[in-house]
C-alpha cells in the first residue's frame, strides 16, 4: 500500500499538536469550568477577584458624617435627608487624601432633575415641589436662594 497517502495526515496532526502546545503557553492555568455547567461556568477563575478589587468611588452619607457631622445632622432633619451627599458633591473616593475639595455641582440642571415640573398623573414625581424652568428665576443658580442641605432654609 502506498504510504505517501498519509503524509498530509502527518502535517495535519503536526498542526493540531502545535495548537495544543500553544494552549499550554497561552491559556492561563485557572481557565476551566468552575461551576455546575460548561455553558455558564467556563472562565478564568482569577477574574472574579480582579473584579472584587475594582476601586470603590462612592462612600455614602455615613462616611461623610465622620467629618462633616453638623452638615449631615442638618440634612438628616430635612426633606432632602434621603439624597446622598455625593449625588451633588460627586464621588468621595479617597477624599480628603487625594482630593481636598469635592467639585460640587451647583448648576440648575442638577436640581431640575427632580424639581422640573412635568405634571404626570399618578407619578411619584408629582409629589415633589416643582417649577417650570423658564418661568422661575432664569440665569440664577438655585443655591443662590435655596439651601440644598435643608431646602426649608434659605441659602447659606
Amino acid at each position: 500500500m502506498k504510504r505517501h497517502v498519509l503524509h498530509p495526515l502527518w502535517v495535519a496532526i503536526g498542526l493540531v499538536g502545535l495548537i495544543l502546545l500553544a494552549r499550554v503557553f497561552m491559556v492561563p492555568d485557572d481557565f476551566g469550568v468552575h461551576g455546575p455547567s460548561f455553558t455558564y461556568n467556563y472562565y478564568r477563575l482569577s477574574n472574579v477577584q480582579e473584579w472584587k478589587n475594582f476601586p470603590v468611588k462612592y462612600r455614602g452619607k455615613e462616611s461623610c458624617a465622620e467629618c462633616h457631622a453638623n452638615k449631615v445632622r442638618t440634612n438628616r432633619r430635612s426633606p432632602h435627608k434621603r439624597i446622598e451627599c455625593e449625588n451633588c458633591h460627586g464621588p468621595a473616593g479617597n477624599h480628603p487624601d487625594d482630593l481636598e475639595f469635592l467639585p460640587t455641582n451647583e448648576d440648575r440642571s442638577l436640581c431640575l432633575r427632580c424639581h422640573a415640573s412635568l405634571e404626570y398623573p399618578n407619578n411619584a414625581r408629582s409629589d415633589l415641589p416643582a417649577i417650570v424652568d423658564r418661568h422661575h428665576k432664569r440665569r440664577r443658580a438655585c443655591v443662590d436662594c435655596h439651601n440644598p442641605h435643608d431646602p426649608r432654609e434659605d441659602a447659606e
Binding site: K2, H4, V5, H7, P8, L9, V11, A12, L15, I19, A22, R23, M26, V27, F31, F38, T39, Y42
Partner: protein, 417 residues
C-alpha cells in the same frame, strides 16, 4: 469628547424613535462580507466536488480551477472577522479556549479542518505535477526558478513516487477528500447560518431555517463565482488566441465552455430555487403567525427595506437571472449578466439578514439606519467601511494569482491533461 472615546457603531448608526441606549449597529459590513466569503468558499468546493465525487465529466476543467480558487478564498473568509474584532490580537482564542456552546467557537475548528481538507485534496490532485516540476526545474537558473524548485520540494512532502499505482491512489484519495469535504463545506457555512438563526433575541434572525437558507445561497454564490471567473478567464484567453490569428483553437475553447456552463448552470438554478423557496417560506410563516415582533418586522421589510429585499434581492438577484439562464439561445454575455446578478442577489441576502436584523430596536418601537462609512477618516471607519469591504473582496483574486503561480489551475487549451 476625546477622539479615542468613540462608541463602536455610533459613526454609522442613526437611531429613530425609541431605541435602547446601548443599541447600535454593531455587526456591520464586515459581518455581511464574512458569510458571503465563506459561502463562496463552500460553493466553490461543492462545484469542484461535483466532478471529483459524482464524475460529472463536463465539469472537469472548471473543477480544478474552482478547487484552487476555493483555497484562495479561504484565508479571505477569516479576514472580515479580523477587521471586525475589537481585539484582533486575541483572534486565536477560539482555537485555544473554544466555548462550544457558541456557534462562533466552531469557527476555529471547522475552518482549520476545512482548510486541511482543501489543502490535502489539492495536494493529491497536484502531487504528480509537483514531482514533475522537480525534474523540469532541476539545474534551472535564476532566483524565481530556484524559489519555485524549493517550494515544490517542500510541497511534495517527500512523496516522489509517480508510478501508475501511486497516481491511482492519489485519485482515490482526492475523491474521498472531495466527498468528506462536501459535508464539512456545508458545516462551514451552515454554522454561519446557525450563528444568526440561534439568536433568540433577534426577531428577524431567529429561525431554524436560517442554516439551510445560508447553505443553499452559499452554494449558489460559489457556483456563480466560479462560473463567472472561469468564463472571464477563458474568454480572455480565447480573445488573445484570436488576436494572434489562431482561430481554430479559439473555436475549440468556446465550444468546450458551453457544455460546462450549461451543466453548472443547471446546478446553480436548482440551489437558487431551493434558497428562494425557503426564504419565502420563512416570510410567509412570519406573516401568518404574526408574533409580537411582526408589526415592526413588517414595517421594516415592506417599508424601509422594501427595495433592498423585494427589488434588489428577490427580483434582480433571483428572478431575473433565473429567467436569463432558462431562456433559449443563451449567450455568454447573457450568462455573465445572470451570474453577476446572482452574486449581487446573494450579497443582498447577507445584507438584508445582517443589517436588516439590526434595522429595528429590541424595543420593537424604534429603528436604526445603517450609513456605511464610504471615505474612511479613522482606522475604524476604514475597517468597517466600504474600503475595508473592497479590500476583502479584492484579496481572493490577488491570492489566486499568487497561488496559481505554483499550482496552475487554468489550461491554455482544453483537452490537454
Amino acid at each position: 469628547m476625546n477622539q479615542e472615546v468613540i462608541v463602536h457603531g455610533i459613526e454609522w448608526t442613526v437611531k429613530e424613535l425609541f431605541v435602547y441606549p446601548n443599541e447600535y449597529i454593531y455587526w456591520s459590513i464586515q459581518i455581511v462580507m464574512y458569510p458571503y466569503m465563506t459561502g463562496l468558499v463552500a460553493g466553490a468546493f461543492v462545484l469542484s466536488s461535483l466532478y471529483h465525487v459524482f464524475g460529472q465529466e463536463q465539469l472537469k476543467d472548471i473543477a480544478r480551477f474552482s478547487l484552487v480558487f476555493s483555497l484562495a478564498l479561504l484565508p479571505v473568509a477569516a479576514l472580515p472577522l479580523l477587521l471586525h474584532l475589537q481585539q484582533p490580537t486575541r483572534a486565536m482564542e477560539p482555537l485555544l479556549t473554544p466555548h462550544f456552546t457558541s456557534a462562533i467557537s466552531a469557527f476555529g475548528i471547522v475552518f482549520t479542518t476545512y482548510a486541511l481538507i482543501v489543502l490535502s485534496e489539492i495536494w493529491f490532485v497536484y502531487r504528480e505535477f509537483f514531482v514533475n516540476q522537480l525534474s523540469v526545474l532541476e539545474g534551472a537558473r535564476g532566483f524565481w526558478n530556484r524559489l519555485r524548485l524549493g517550494v515544490y520540494k517542500v510541497l511534495t512532502l517527500g512523496a516522489r513516487d509517480v508510478s501508475e499505482e501511486a497516481l491511482a491512489v492519489d485519485h482515490k484519495a482526492a475523491k474521498i477528500l472531495a466527498g468528506i469535504g462536501i459535508p464539512v463545506a456545508c458545516f462551514l457555512h451552515g454554522y454561519a447560518g446557525f450563528i444568526f438563526g440561534s439568536v433568540k433575541a433577534n426577531a428577524l434572525w431567529m429561525s431554524p431555517l436560517m442554516p439551510v437558507i445560508f447553505i443553499m445561497s452559499a452554494v449558489v454564490s460559489g457556483i456563480a463565482l466560479c462560473m463567472l471567473t472561469y468564463i472571464v478567464i477563458m474568454e480572455w484567453q480565447a480573445f488573445r488566441l484570436r488576436r494572434t490569428g489562431s482561430t481554430v483553437e479559439a473555436g475549440r475553447v468556446k465550444g468546450a465552455e458551453s457544455e460546462i456552463i450549461s451543466q453548472a448552470a443547471r446546478y446553480l438554478l436548482g440551489f437558487l430555487v431551493a434558497a428562494i423557496s425557503l426564504e419565502l417560506l420563512d416570510l410567509i410563516f412570519r406573516g401568518y403567525t404574526a408574533m409580537k415582533s411582526w408589526d415592526i418586522l413588517r414595517s421594516v421589510m415592506y417599508g424601509k427595506d422594501f427595495v433592498n429585499i423585494f427589488v434588489l434581492q428577490y427580483t434582480l438577484g433571483n428572478l431575473v437571472p433565473f429567467i436569463l439562464l432558462l431562456l433559449p439561445g443563451r449567450t455568454v454575455r447573457r450568462t455573465v449578466l445572470a451570474l453577476l446578478l446572482v452574486l449581487f442577489g446573494v450579497f443582498m441576502m447577507r445584507w438584508n439578514v445582517v443589517i436588516g436584523g439590526q434595522a429595528f430596536s429590541l424595543s420593537f418601537s424604534g429603528y436604526m439606519h445603517y450609513h456605511m462609512p464610504v471615505f474612511p477618516h479613522s482606522l475604524e471607519t476604514f475597517k468597517e467601511g466600504l474600503f475595508g469591504a473592497l479590500t476583502v473582496a479584492a484579496t481572493p483574486f490577488v491570492l489566486f494569482w499568487l497561488i496559481n503561480k505554483f499550482v496552475p489551475s487554468l489550461r491554455r487549451v482544453p483537452g490537454e491533461t
